[in-house]
């Protein structure tokens, strides 16, 4: 059995918790769910803090647990401007060893397809040959259909459509069907939506993720494990696809 990799976990969430979550929360959930490795993203930027410091926290977590964690950079373009973001993307990928970029338009209040804040990041992701992971599913800033604009403008970009669009999963599935450079993050969605995603994205562009510790990876994993599809396809969804997408050496 190939290693199970959760491509969507967080540090410093304040989501329904008494205090900010830490590395220990993610690692404990991984152990309970038999997840071998996770992509970790620090989201202190959501709460108004400097996202660059958050990336340093994530890098520290990765240094302490290199066999268990890989980092994605959280970017918050309006915070200090797009140039600062582009510099941070370079720093995180080239110096900190992160393997992807993440943006959160809903809390950062810019549209997914912002020409000012996102188009340059897509170009940067292409130049760095890493995926750009985009939170979706909370209009007006992050309807999944807006990913179509990014995908059509940059067919070489590798785009991860966050949360399968939440309740807008049908729109997300249309984007996935139309644009082969878009991948589906399955976190925080439900079984019916994930079955639709299988038909739209196919087994090679679906990515197991939990949004841990918001949601426990046990539940997210069970959705994939219970899909009526061949085992080999489940293994790709549970880890093989993110390994290939990010060039992980695991």
């Amino acid at each position: 059995m190939a290693p199970v990799i959760d491509h969507h976990t967080h540090l410093h969430l304040n989501y329904g918790h008494d205090a900010r979550t830490g590395t220990g929360d993610v690692l404990q959930a991984m152990e309970e769910a038999d997840v071998a490795h996770s992509i970790i993203i620090d989201v202190c930027g959501i709460y108004g803090e400097d996202y660059r410091e958050g990336n340093d926290h994530a890098a520290e977590a990765v240094r302490e647990h290199p066999d268990k964690l890989t980092g994605f950079a959280y970017l918050h373009p309006p915070y200090a401007g797009i140039e600062a973001c582009l510099a941070e993307a370079d720093r995180c990928i080239r110096k900190l060893g992160f393997r992807g970029l993440k943006i959160h338009p809903v809390t950062d209040y810019h549209p997914i397809n912002s020409p000012e804040f996102v188009y340059p990041l897509v170009e940067k992701a292409v130049a760095l040959d890493v995926p750009l992971f985009v939170h979706t599913g909370h209009p007006p800033m992050s309807g999944p259909i807006l990913m179509a604009d990014l995908a059509r403008r940059h067919p070489k970009a590798k785009l991860i459509l966050g949360h399968l669009g939440h309740a807008q999963f049908s729109d997300a599935c249309w984007v996935g069907k139309e644009y082969p450079n878009v991948y589906a993050d399955l976190s925080m969605n439900q079984f019916g939506a994930i079955k639709n995603a299988y038909r739209a994205f196919g087994p090679d562009r679906m990515l197991f993720g939990s949004d841990s510790p918001t949601s426990h990876p046990i539940g997210a994993k069970s959705f994939v494990e219970n899909l009526p599809i061949p085992s080999a396809e489940k293994e790709r969804i549970l880890g093989g696809n993110i390994v290939r997408l990010c060039g992980l050496d695991l």
């Binding site: 209009p139 007006p140 807006l146 729109d171 599935c173 079955k195």
Partner: protein, 248 residues
């Protein structure tokens, strides 16, 4: 000619203001010449065929004021579409997303495409009511995109786009598909400005959804848009006449 692209006959929540006489009075007060009328009863009682029969009688009694569009259970095939187009003298059908659950991946092709094909053959437009009901239906634009791409010569009108948070999605859909039009009623200035800038007057139509909105207020709003008279003429009725084949 001023054409309101959506008014509701026998709205179950507004029975007194959605009779024929009440609707005609509101159109007259607004200076509206004609209106695309649908029967709103099936939203709650699902009696589509009976509603279409009744609507047909209403339209035949007022052929110079009403352009009728039927409603149907889109899971049941195109017999009712054919009946609306060929037997009842209606101009097509309006699909209500708020009725039933929106079909998932693969099912729009199965249920909606045959209807779209009929409407295209008849030279009419497909009107999809969006309503904005979250979480299942609200703002969903996947079917507009699927249908518009499969039928690039069919005008697809996104109707009842009342959830302002979804306007970026509606506008993106229109940008992706040149045969998609946006129907609007009273809307925030920021939304209208964006629509005028990104779509232009050729791809916008006015639909009040009377009696829920005052059609006169919508006409007044259009007349205040920062565009020339030709643009206003298109939005107020020229586009509707064109896509519904009224000019032929």
């Amino acid at each position: 000619m001023i054409i309101d692209t959506s008014i509701s006959y026998k709205h179950p929540h507004h029975p007194e203001t959605s009779t024929v006489d009440a609707l005609l009075r509101s159109l007259d007060a607004a200076g509206i010449d004609r209106a695309v009328i649908h029967h709103f009863g099936p939203i709650t009682d699902f009696r589509f065929a009976a509603a279409n029969d009744e609507l047909s009688r209403v339209v035949k009694a007022h052929p110079d004021r009403f352009i009728g569009v039927g409603t149907q259970n889109y899971y049941k095939g195109t017999d009712e579409t054919d009946r609306c187009l060929n037997d009842l003298g209606l101009h097509g059908v309006k699909l209500f997303s708020s009725w039933g659950l929106a079909p998932g991946t693969g099912l729009v092709e199965k249920f909606f495409f045959p209807i779209a094909e009929k409407l295209q053959a008849a030279g009419s437009a497909l009107m999809i009511e969006h309503e904005g009901h979250t979480p299942i239906i609200g703002g969903a634009v996947f079917w507009d995109n699927l249908i518009a791409r499969a039928f690039p010569d069919l005008p697809v009108v996104m109707c009842r786009c009342w959830t302002w948070a979804y306007w970026p999605d509606y506008l993106m859909t229109a940008e992706l598909n040149p045969n998609v039009l946006l129907e609007f009623t009273l809307a925030p200035t920021s939304c209208i400005d964006r629509a005028l800038r990104e779509l232009g007057p050729d791809r916008m139509v006015m639909g009040s959804w009377a009696p829920e909105m005052d059609p006169g207020a919508v006409v007044d709003a259009v007349n205040r848009f920062p565009i020339d008279d030709e643009g206003k003429r298109k939005i107020l009725g020229g586009n509707a006449a064109r896509i519904l084949g009224l000019e032929r």
